[in-house]
Symmetry: C2
Subunit: 279 residues, 2 copies
DNA sequence: CGTTAATTTGAGACCATTCAATTTCGGTGG
DNA sequence: CCACCGAAATTGAATGGTCTCAAATTAACG
């Protein structure tokens, strides 16, 4: 067993120091928390009372640079974090310092729901690019959830969908080779982006470096590079300078074993909210 | 792309037909649902009112043979299923028919919590050995959860722990080679069994075949065999005829990158239930 | 005791890693 | 505008890990 410095304790992470600027309770009449509803309204209806209660929650805003840590493993979990703009990942650092990316996070998502019953965060949340987040007090949100069934349901639903997504990811790692894993990752990214209405024309902004793709797929950076070239050569994608264009969506899904219907189903039609209670 | 029959549509699955024997509302004064509390009381206190409400729920009992399907993907989800005795897995069948095992389930667990907001099950639940389950009506349990915050919290907590476990599993698949993946699987199995107080002396009953281990780790059956032999030769485990003995726990954890503290933390100390509400 | 499933073994091909070294790219300062 | 720098992307060759295919052995079960 050899000891070495964690991979990400030097170089690029240094320039990404945590820059937190608190904003306090909003006075301009529009809460960033409204972004939550964009994702929720399609899945489960939320009552107007719960909605206004949510919007009325005090929050603080913060911005983080590329590769900065939004939440650190082991940190006390005193607040919930909503990703307002930009992309984030959930990751853990293995004992040898290698980074393991467990899931992706898009604007409008609670990035740390899983921690809501833990005193200390069980993994790191890291910014992919320059991001903005809003934090709300954990105890206040829990109280709100206790009082408002429809809000509770939406948040619970959100975390359940995350769980299902993790299950799919496991399947991808088990069944796919390098090309399949990368294809799956790209498919999931594009599909979730599309579901959030954030694609632009023929493609989208893709904020992951090849090393980050490698960390998410469990591959080497080198082999990720070669596999990406193969995907490009076979005409499935175009990817350069953080811009991704999927040239053959069906083929990409085929390679990655990505079931678009599965994801779609969860975000819309079949996710009918069971009546937890009448509000 | 070649087409072939799904791997598990012939041979061994045939003899494991679904045998369901309904028992109706219990009259003997003891509900199998009480098994739930063994797992819950250590994590989150549950009120006596909620407890008696849960015990009072009508349920039906069913037994399934080895490899039988308890829940099938796509099936309407009209009930929740509690595993009473035996072991089960959550799995999906890939398009080529290969089975992908996503998670393990132990007695006292809700095996289909993730489906509670879905109209149709999104994966299969399969028995590992001969098992007994209890089913309760989905709508009745949801109503109960709406009325009893402490019950709701326990169930939610359960599903959150499942999510965290999936995350760890992803990490294992990303970072580990064959030996590491198998070591991790064995560690998780033993650790969860131990947490449930189900180990016996030096080892435990281990119900998975080598092919099932392969399906859970994303390896080939053949290579799983060779890797198990390597683990045996290095003196870490003893495994034969469904009996597992871990000879060197620390070394096994080391190989699999299994963080025992992590799992333990979730089951006991740090899982203090945040006050969702006062009941 | 016979049948079927499960485990084991071998050899060759293929996939992914390692360890360099090299090139491209975006940003920075002269 | 150019020179420079570090980070990211790319390339090559050798090594090691895993898969495939097929056959043999052992174990489980009626």
């Amino acid at each position: 067993m050899e000891l070495e410095l964690p991979k990400y304790q030097n170089s690029s992470r240094q320039r990404a120091e945590r820059t937190r600027s608190c904003a306090g309770i909003p006075v301009d009449g529009r809460s960033v928390l409204e972004d939550l509803f964009k994702r929720w309204r399609c899945a489960a209806p939320i009552s107007t009372i719960a909605k206004s209660a949510l919007i009325g929650l005090p929050w603080t805003q913060a911005t983080f640079g590329r590769e900065a840590y939004v939440v650190r493993e082991g940190e006390p979990t005193s607040s919930f974090t909503v990703l307002v703009s930009g992309f984030a990942i959930r990751q853990k650092l293995a004992s040898d310092g290698r980074r393991q990316i467990v899931s992706l996070h898009f604007p409008g998502e609670f990035v740390d729901v899983q921690n809501c019953f833990l005193d200390h965060a069980d993994c790191n949340i890291q910014a992919l690019n320059s991001i903005t987040v809003a934090s709300v007090s954990k105890s206040m949100l829990l109280k709100l959830m206790a009082a408002h069934p429809s809000a509770r349901r939406s948040i619970w639903l959100d975390s359940m969908v995350q769980t299902l997504t993790l299950g799919e990811w496991i399947g991808s790692l088990q069944r796919n080779d390098a090309a399949g894993r990368i294809a799956y990752l790209l498919c999931e990214f594009v599909a979730r982006l599309r579901a959030a209405g954030m694609t632009d024309g023929t493609g989208c902004h893709f904020p992951m470096s090849q090393d980050q793709i490698a960390d998410a797929t469990g591959l080497t950076g080198v082999h990720t590079n070669r596999t990406l070239q193969a995907l490009r050569k076979s005409g499935l994608i175009r990817l350069s300078s953080n811009r991704l264009e999927v040239l053959d969506w069906d083929a990409l899904c085929e390679v990655g074993g990505f079931d678009e219907a599965c994801l779609h189903r969860r975000n819309t039609a079949e996710l009918k909210p069971a009546p937890l209670s009448h509000e």
